[in-house]
Symmetry: C2
Subunit: 217 residues, 2 copies
């Protein structure tokens, strides 16, 4: 029988297991079982469990920063448009790298704590700073009219999105986009967005097509 490198499989299996049980609870045995191998064999690919977590989480994290960079390059669009793109992007990446991105969000704490991941802490800080700058820019040029400090606004928006892991499971691109635009509309116009503000929001997604929601929060 053929013997291709099963590294992608391993990554996938680890992602699944980490998502279902969390990093601590997940066992190398469980991960290995998904490939039909023994736990010891995993050490042909990585030299520790934590390194496996790193590998899983690296892809979505890097994708996030990469796209953020290209978003920064966009100096033509208005701030609101760029913010919408940011929201869309984050949800798209969440879906695209699904189990991995979920794990990333879920273990931000662990990642930032471990000295192994100083790099991630930095990546995260840069991401947060970018969002904050975007908000501040909008406030400065008059597109936004903030009722709260930019730092707080930025964190609230990011939180709204990041908490999504608890109640949303990706089902497809169309739904992802719909959800992203709903969240963006909410961020932009709040609970009153349907009224007088509707005009400046542009075409809003159809609220009649229900978005799937998990029980957990």
């Amino acid at each position: 029988m053929p013997r291709p490198s099963r590294w992608p499989e391993l990554l996938h299996a680890a992602g699944q297991e980490f998502r279902e049980h969390g990093y601590e609870q997940a066992t190398l045995e469980g991960i290995a079982a998904r490939l039909g191998i023994l736990k010891g064999s995993i050490y042909n690919y990585v030299s520790s469990k934590e390194e496996l977590l790193l590998a899983v989480v690296e892809q979505p994290a890097r994708a996030l920063l990469d796209e953020l960079e290209s978003l920064r390059a966009d100096t033509e669009s208005g701030v609101a448009v760029r913010l919408r793109e940011l929201v869309r992007m984050q949800i798209r990446i969440f879906s695209e790298y699904y189990p991995a991105a979920f794990v990333y969000l879920q273990h931000l704490g662990h990642l930032e704590a471990s000295p192994q991941f100083a790099e991630f802490k930095q990546m995260d800080a840069r991401y947060m700073a970018a969002v904050e700058a975007l908000v501040a820019e909008g406030a400065a040029n008059g597109e936004f009219s903030l009722a709260a400090e930019p730092r707080v606004v930025a964190r609230a928006i990011v939180g709204m999105i990041d908490w999504m892991q608890h109640w949303f499971t990706p089902h497809g691109e169309e739904e992802d986009l719909r959800l992203a635009d709903q969240l963006f509309a909410l961020a932009l116009g709040g609970l009153a967005a349907g009224g007088s503000m509707r005009a400046m929001l542009g075409a809003l997604p159809d609220p009649l097509t229900r978005i799937e929601v998990e029980t957990r929060r």
Copy 2:
């Protein structure tokens, strides 16, 4: 030397330790060390580590539901006012039961997974349902004009608040209230809340007094 029951101390120590290291990483030894006793001695108070987590988390969880109940009893105030109270309440409880409430939010997943905590899962579901109902009521009576489904709106608001654990550490009642009202203003009016919507928001908190923010997100 006197021998008072050190149960409160234990609860406090456990809360601290769970917050700093997370439930899995925290060790009974570490908790015991805070009291100057041995880990085995903890079993005079609880019969398992998980029971200790339960005990820590029970207070804030129950407080949350209790206050939610009294909020439901309020049928006089408008929906917006009740929603503001809800936001204030959640942040107040977060601060009041600080280490414990933090642990509660951080381990929602673990709690809901463990069969031990079926009760909590139910509590959480009821809480979420209440928020959703509030949003829907506001949409129905015209106070709100939603740009997204009530389920999504409710979850976004709750997420915005719950994610707070990652960047906010309580420093005092005044600041708590200020933060709560900023978040509420954001939920109600979004990024444009300072403009045309300012009137209907009433007295907004002074955005000049900076709110302390942690580095993490």
